[in-house]
Every structure is written in C-alpha cells, then in structure tokens.
C-alpha cells in the first residue's frame, strides 16, 4: 500500500480507531516481555486479589499475579491463534474454492457439498467435537477453528472465481495455451484476493472470540499460560470479591476484536460500491 492509499484509508475516523486498536494488540503481543511491568506467572502471596492500585494498575488475581502483565501476555495467544487459524483456513479454503470454481462439474459438486456439510456445524460446536477427539491444547484450538472457517473461504473464493473465469483475459490466456494451474494462480487468483483479505480480517476477530470461549470452558489453553479466556475462567470464580479480573480481561478481548472487525469492515467498504450508494435524506 503506498502513502496516498494509506492516507485515503485513514481518512475515516473508524479506520483510525481500527488501526490504533489492532496496532496496540500486535505491539503488546510482540513486545510483551518489554511492556509488561511484572512477570505474568510470578506469584505473590502477600498481594492476592488486590484491587487496582498505583503498583498493580489492573489489580492482582487469586495467586497475587499482576493482571496487567497477564493480559498483555494473553495478547500473544490471541494474536497467534487468530493469525494461524485463519491463515490455514484461507490457504485450504481458497485452494478448494479455486479448484471448485474453475473445474466445475462433478469435482465442484463434491467439494461444495463437503463444504456445506462442515458449514452445517456451528463453529464452536465443531470445535467442541474436535476437542473431544484430540484433547484440549493450543494446537487443537488452531486446527478446530481452521476447519470451521475453511468453508467460508471456499465458498467466497468459488463465487469470486465464477465471476472472473468468463472474462476476456481468461479466455485469452486459455487461447494462448496456458495450462489450468497457470490460469488459476497467475490470472484468476490476483483478481479474487481483495474480498478474501477483507473476510479473513473479520474472521481473525471471530477466531479470537472462539479461542476465548473455548479457553473459558476449560477446553483451550491450559493454565498457567496466560490467555484471555483462561483468565476470565478463573476470574469468574472471584466475581464478587475481585470483579476487576473479569472486567479487564473482557475489555481486552472486546477492544482487540472490535479493532480487527473495524479493520475488516473498512477494507470491505473500500471495495463495495453498494456501501457508498447515494440516498436522499
């Protein structure tokens, strides 16, 4: 993206909010060790369940660990799960979508029915099923979210391919004797990436929510690793005596997912002509 495009993008206030929130999450994930004021796993029994103070800005948990440091370190899990799971989902899903859209016929039919079948399972339920089989762990979460999201990208890519494949430059490439893989990856793929990127961004946010939900249920990242979902899980038990644990961890999740969703929304808005259709007041 060049400077002018970046300026255009940041002309809307929502885009500025989006970039700020996402920037903060990524920054704290990368530099967690430097930014966090305390060791996130260091227990201090002289300071358990303290409310927010000058020393512990967001208070401490039941083991006297600094909440702010744990939440900053938790952003690592969120960013990691969000990016890798959606990365897998996009790679596999888009490949299937490209094949289905370009090949059509029986192959298309087979791929899309399988995609429909996976799509019939609500994401968190599919994840629960996969958890049951593979046991709870970070890797399982990534696999589960990736499998659940894959159909979305297969469908989107296929519909994009269908709209592009009849265009003249594809016919021209075919006439010049280009083989299917070359046509698909060199000629069609570049024309279908923009909506996929926007959709992928939105799904990074949803993946973070799913991870938090699964970890909250005790099926995700296992303690003592700091993850926003597991922090919420243990905080729920202390809701009456130490509400700050639950409040702050939820706000971290909310702001990160809001930022990512806004970013995806702004990216989509830039491409969708309908979003700027004129209406009279």
């Amino acid at each position: 993206m060049n400077t002018q495009a970046l300026k255009d993008f940041l002309s809307s206030p929502l885009a500025v909010i989006a970039v700020t929130l996402v920037g903060a999450a990524v920054f704290s994930a990368i530099f967690a060790d430097l930014v966090a004021p305390f060791d996130p796993n260091k227990q201090d029994y002289s300071a358990v369940l303290q409310s927010p103070s000058a020393e512990h800005w967001l208070g401490t948990d039941q083991l006297g660990r600094d909440m702010l440091s744990r939440l900053i370190h938790g952003s690592r899990i969120a960013v990691l799960v969000g990016l890798t799971s959606v990365g897998f989902a996009v790679s596999v899903g888009s490949l299937l979508g490209l094949i289905a859209g370009y090949a059509s016929g029986i192959l298309d039919e087979a791929i899309m029915r399988l995609v429909d079948a996976i799509l019939a399972f609500p994401s968190i339920l599919l994840a629960l099923g996969i958890m049951a089989a593979l046991g709870p762990s970070l890797t399982t979460i990534v696999i589960a979210i990736a499998i659940g999201d894959m159909p979305v990208f297969a469908r989107l890519t296929r519909s994009q391919v269908l709209s592009v494949r009849e265009r003249d430059f594809v016919t021209a490439a075919t006439a010049m004797g280009a083989r299917a893989p070359r046509i698909v990856f060199r000629h069609i793929w570049p024309h279908v990436t923009a909506p996929i990127v926007a959709m992928a961004t939105l799904h990074v946010g949803l993946a973070i929510l799913t991870e938090a939900g699964l970890s909250f249920l005790g099926l995700g990242v296992q303690p003592p690793t700091a993850s926003w979902g597991t922090i919420l899980r243990s905080g729920f038990g202390y809701i009456e005596v130490a509400p700050w644990i639950s409040i702050s961890s939820g706000i971290f999740i909310f702001l990160t997912v809001l930022g990512v969703s806004l970013l995806g929304d702004e990216l989509r808005r830039k491409q969708d002509p309908r979003a700027t259709a004129t209406v009279r007041p």
Partner: protein, 316 residues
Amino acid sequence: MARYVWRRALTALVVLFLVSVISFIIVFVLPGDTAAAILGEDGGLDRERYEALRETLGLNKPLITRYVEWVTGVLRGDFGVSLRTSEEIGPALLQRAGPTFQLAIMAMLIAVAVAIPVGVASAVRQGTWVDTAGTLLALSGIATPGFWLGIMLILVFAVWLKWLPPSGYVPIWESPLESVRLMILPAVALATALMGVTIRQVRTAVIEVLGEDYITTARAKGVRERQIVYRHALRNALLPVVTVIGLQMGQTLAGAATIEVVFSIPGLGRLAVDSIFFRDFTMIQAVMLLFAVIVLASSFLTDLLYARLDPRIRYR
C-alpha cells in the same frame, strides 16, 4: 417452483448424509484405542470394564457396520445410551432442548427489536454520525464475547443491584414469569452478536431498496418520507433480513453453550460441554448431529421461503 424444491431437497439430503458421517466419525479421529482413551487413567487397567466398553461402543466391528447401525438407530429415533449416565440419549436431548430454544428465541426477539430501528436509522442517515454510531454498535455487538457480557450482567444486576437472580432455570410452563425473569440476562448476552449482524443486514438491505424505482415513484407521488421508509422500503428489505436470521440460527444455538455454562442453564450447549469433559462420545455424536440437522433444516426452510416470496430467485 416444484422443480426448485426438489433440487434443493436433493442437495439437502446429500449434505445431511455427509453431516451424519462427520458427526459419527469425529470422535474416532483420535489415533489409538477409543475405549482406552475413554477409561483414561482410572479404569484403563481394568480388563473387564475395557472389554465391556469395547462391546458397547461396538469397537470390535468394522467402522462402516458401526456407522450403518448408528444411522439406522437414529432414523428410528434411537440414539443409543449415554456412556456417562447410561440414560437414553433421545429423551435426554428432548429434555435439554427446551431451555436452549427458549434462550435462543428470546435472544432473537431482543436482537431484532434493537436491530431494525438502528439499521433503518443508519441507512436513512447514511454517512452521518448516526450511521457511524450504528456501525460502531453493530461491530461492538459482534466483538463482545457473549459469555463475558453475561458475567458483567450478573455482576451489575445480580451482585450489585440485586434486581435479578444471578443464575438458574425454571421451565416456562411451571412459572412463566419467573422463567422469563431468569432468562432475561442470558438472552441479552446471547443477543448481542445476532444484533450486530442483523443491524448491518438491515442497513444494507434498506439502502439497496431505497435506490429502487418504486421509491422514486412514491416520492414523486408525494408520499411522506416516514411512510416511504417504513411502508415501502422496510417491508421489502425484510426478506434478506429474515434470511440472515435463519442462517444465524445455528450460530445462536451454539453460542448458547458458553452462556448456559455462565448462567447454569441445563440446555443442549451445556450438555455438549459436559459430555466432552466426561468423554461421553455417544452423547457428543448425537448433539452434533442434532445441531447440524437444525441448521440444515432452517437454511432449507429459509431458502424455500425466499423462493416463495421473491419470484426473481430461481435455482441455477
């Protein structure tokens, strides 16, 4: 229309078959011995229990035979027995479905009640601060973890204000008022995501409809703007909105899982979560199949409704 219904039904059947295979197979993805995995640390060495479990699970038969037996059982309404409690799965599901459906329906009503006015306002005042605020509300709804909102609602309304009970469930036929009172907080927590998605759908649909010729005609006739928006535009915009709500049905039901855990509601979602902790594989299979069938059925009905109401839609 008839041709469309048949083709659509045929596709649904193929997908239904694949769904049943996935539900059945998913718990056997685990490499190694399923029976040993279920018994785990406590009973892994007990030879007798191990053999009995292998027999119950039918692990001594080939996978295909087991699948066929399972599916024919399910078609007769026999889901087998729970590995954990030995109760019949069919009646157990039925018993757990009530709370979940009550929760989902209340959440849908709340979501739609908020989403329609906000979505319409965003569309009519497109590009103004009203629109920006509407977009922000929609995305906030999507970005809020429902179970966290639930915890916050408990904190504010049950712990601090003491207006509502923190958790629990009473069947609606036993005490309708108490049942709804207990269900308000969880329903609000579950509604936010659906509300967000619906606001955006209402906005897009209304914007699109407002650009149609018949709106221009109505304006030319001198119809009042208010009437144009609510009579002419919203009515036609509701079709895609209904579709989105139909398609979100599954996500809403599944989202109930975490909410049910937070509010101690004995529903299907909580059943699924508990079954995983207890490695109750037969129960997990049944719950997954049930959810997928509900999703397929609602998307099938939504499609038919769409085709019935909009003559422009025909199957490719």
